[in-house]
Symmetry: C2
Subunit: 146 residues, 2 copies
């Protein structure tokens, strides 16, 4: 079985925080908004083409991130999308939104002009919280797909 | 129980085609792309906040529309999103995409400047196909939420 590799564009754009059972959990490097990206280990490119069980599992994991965004980061609304027109590898956007955010009410894609950077301490805190209370596991790359 | 009403902005922007068990099925009036909008009968505003069973049901219905878009309309890729920053009522975007479409590879939101109109015969054909092969039911408004 081939090794699963996260698309280089996602690797370039994001911090890798860890993984759930199905999805790798990434955080867009732009800290203007909490913009998480989940990458399920699959070759299917469209969310709605996944077999039911995998699709539900991926969305359940997105819902965990959504809870974290709302409870711990103070963003009451979450935008969810699977687009993939530019990066074909299936990835799920889970983006915290609120009326005072950097591009409200526009969707983030193509509209988030403000740039900000996470401090290492912020990344550590987010990762630690996700591990302690939301089941995040260390991002050890597995050698083969399951 | 209050009557469930589709948000007036969605009614203004879309054709109402019918419904599945959970979701009303709408089609954006802009025929430049096949842009379906599913409105589940719920007061929850974020997809990822829906109880698991309802969330899976809503996404299964979105997957049915996705199959229709790919098999019958000739769009091999489908963008899926729940945003709702402007219209707060939960609604799911299921949008057929292909490299020669009107705004590829940009997401449609805010980027679809081309306008086109469905002929009545096109709307009838889409509705008929969805009824015959994809389980769409007539859009009879129910008096009460279930």
């Amino acid at each position: 079985m081939p090794v699963f590799e996260i698309h280089p564009q996602l690797v370039a754009d994001c911090h890798r925080l860890g993984r759930f059972d199905l999805c790798h959990v990434l955080l867009n490097q732009n800290a203007a908004l909490p913009w998480f990206i989940l990458v399920p280990e699959t070759d299917v490119t469209d969310l709605l083409d996944l077999p039911d069980e995998q699709r539900n599992a991926a969305i359940n994991e997105a819902a965990v991130i959504s809870q974290f965004v709302r409870r711990n980061l103070g963003y009451p609304k979450v935008n969810f999308a699977a687009i993939g027109n530019v990066v074909p590898q299936l990835h799920l956007h889970v983006v915290g939104r609120r009326p005072d955010d950097a591009c409200w009410p526009a969707p983030v894609w193509g509209n988030l002009t403000e740039k900000a950077t996470y401090a290492t301490s912020q990344l550590d805190r987010i990762t630690e919280l996700l591990k302690r209370s939301f089941g995040l596991k260390a991002a050890v790359d597995r050698l083969t797909k399951e």
